[in-house]
């Protein structure tokens, strides 16, 4: 059973990590409470499904168009919905909730409540220690690792990354220092949504596509980012793995309580926060500031 837990937890943690990177950037680093983040993930999945399955476009082209289109939509949404209320966090929260619900209802109207499937990019299964892992899940692990490294390089090795961190640290001071804070915020939203869209394209084939697919990941992403510590990409990765392993342990140790795996993961988050309110790697982030 140990090898099952080790492998399953790692694979599921990889899925969560891929979903969490973009959210960590927007919520953890830039401190923009974009609740619609996972709704963009849902839109990317629908877009990919439409292009790949209904219009029969090649996979790479369909993925590229989906990511670009959803990212462009996020920029439009930023200018129309988020930017006007950017200085009021609660207003951003409410506005992005409304945005997510609009996307949900539009998809429900257009596609109905049916569950849709997307073919895997890579077929086949790898067996590790007697545990079967579909290649698509391994692809998710690889993409998650690449996205993590890419985002880290962006934040800590580029001027844009410096601007994102500075703007998040103190909006007014960054403004006084001559930064175009609106453009930086828009770039942050676009990059994080692009990451969500990539997640939608890569992760959706292992789940199902439906108008409500954004809700469960939203709660899990919030948990992962808060558990790992706001602003820490490393924390988000560790948080994702913790959630993945807690869920695997719950299912293997308590099969009849498999429905509790989400609650167990959130309980672990609460326990960690009671001991370390700043999250696992929150202090490091504060010191960096």
């Amino acid at each position: 059973m140990l090898q099952d837990i080790l492998v399953t937890g790692l694979v599921n943690g990889g899925v969560y990590a891929l979903l969490a990177i973009g959210f960590s950037l927007i919520f953890g680093v830039a401190r923009i409470v974009n609740i619609a983040h996972t709704a963009f993930y849902m839109l990317a999945a629908y877009c990919f499904y439409t292009l790949l399955v209904r219009l029969q476009l090649p996979g790479t082209l369909a993925a590229l168009i989906s990511v670009v289109a959803v990212t462009a939509l996020s920029v439009l949404c930023y200018r129309l919905v988020i930017e006007p209320v950017r200085e009021h966090e609660s207003a951003v929260l409410i506005a992005t909730i409304a945005l997510a619900l609009i996307f949900q209802e539009l998809m429900l109207y257009a596609y109905g409540g049916n569950f849709l499937g997307i073919p895997s990019a890579v077929e086949g299964v790898l067996t590790v220690f007697g545990v079967s892992i579909p290649y698509q899940r391994l692809l998710i692990l690889v993409v998650a690792a690449a996205m993590l490294v890419g985002t880290w390089l962006l934040l800590y090795r580029t001027r844009l990354g410096l601007a994102i961190r500075a703007t998040a640290n103190d909006l007014e001071v960054a403004n006084l220092m001559g930064m175009n804070v609106h453009r930086v915020a828009m770039a942050t939203v676009a990059i994080s949504v692009a990451l969500a869209a990539i997640a939608g394209v890569v992760v959706a084939p292992v789940f199902v596509v439906d108008p409500f697919m954004w809700l469960t990941p939203l709660v899990t992403m919030l948990a992962i980012v808060v558990l790992g510590g706001l602003g820490s990409l490393k924390g988000s990765l560790v948080g994702a793995l913790i959630i993945g392993y807690v869920e695997a342990i719950t299912v293997f140790a308590l099969p009849q309580g498999a429905f509790l795996k989400g609650a167990m993961a959130l309980s672990i988050m609460v326990v960690v926060l009671l001991i370390r309110p700043e999250g696992l790697f929150g202090v490091v982030f504060e010191e960096e500031r």
Binding site: L116, G117, P255
Partner: protein
Amino acid sequence: MLRKLLVALAAAVIAPPAVAQGTVKIAVIGPMAYVQGENHWMGAELARDDINNAGGISVDGKKLKVELIRADSNEIQSVSDATNAMERVITRDKADFVVGGFRSEAVIAMQEVAMDYKKLFLGCGAADAKLGQNVEANYDRYKYWFRVTPTKSPDLGRTLFAVLGSIAGQIRADLKKDTPKVAILAEKVLWTQAIVAALQTNLPKMKMEVVGLWQPSPTATDVTAELSAIERAGADIVFTAVSGPVGIVLGRQMGERKMKAIAFGINVEAQKDGFWEATAGKGNYVSTLDTYGMVEVTPKMIPFVTEFEARFHKSPTYNAATYDAIMLLKDAIEQAGSTNADKLVPVLEGFKDHIGTSGTLTWDKLHDPVWAVGKTSGIAVQWQNGKKVPFWPPLVKGMQPFKLP
């Protein structure tokens, strides 16, 4: 007391009997954005057109046309939306009868509203036994409820055992395993409770070993960990009781993993035409209870399925038995010569072996269909290379062999 007064007041202002107006208004209530609601509506549309094209419902020498009211209950997301929809069709749209319903939790709540107004409500989707138990416990209040499809959950369990016994027999014969191992994977919801309890009690008596019970959330979209554990337990059969998206993920992931175990049980998503595409073609060998197929369960089934597919370009799910519900109402109204619910109840109760498209129906004192193989038990189907193949009950004409992976 206040509630009774309000209901009495509302009942007093709703429309007079429809006979005088020349139409019978039937509300079709269901989650219209979902396949279940779509099928409620499509089955009802066929019934309406068949009745109206034949002249209508005969009452006292007059012909009453059927008028349908489409009511979106949104019950998958919200029980209160469902009760509001029921209230609306009775008080605002002035429906004479109601057919439909899907999710047990919502139908139990909608049953209360319909009974408040003494409206005949013919269920075409919910399996929970409480709906019928209410009739027995308080007949005067709940006598207006009749279940058309599916059979109540304990009877679904009986059907499942019958099919499971047949599959286990094939495993014993083909794989030479005397005691097949069964993993139970059931959503943690109301309708699966009785089935799970019955399985745990009865499978050992049927010479099958239960290797574990896994209960994911009804909204789960990933069962990787569960399937790893089931694979490790060496299960030959994965018994499923799932109605949500997990049914698709399960079929797909079992296919991807090339698991040797066979999935059988109730998998609502596997009853739909879209299952094969939703699993990206990985759902081979997944089997489930179903209702309709190109088989002669009744003489009306094949013509109905043919007409349904020709008109809607998809095959019907069990919710399309709204067709049967409306035909039952038609026959009852013609026999009673009235649309008065109190006069129709004894007529409906008196129907014996009423032949419909989904089965041959007789109601018990709980107004639940009397369970019988080949009459109300429904059928079992298996996905084989992109097609839904019916394989049980074997004596019904048109059944094909069940295949092991």
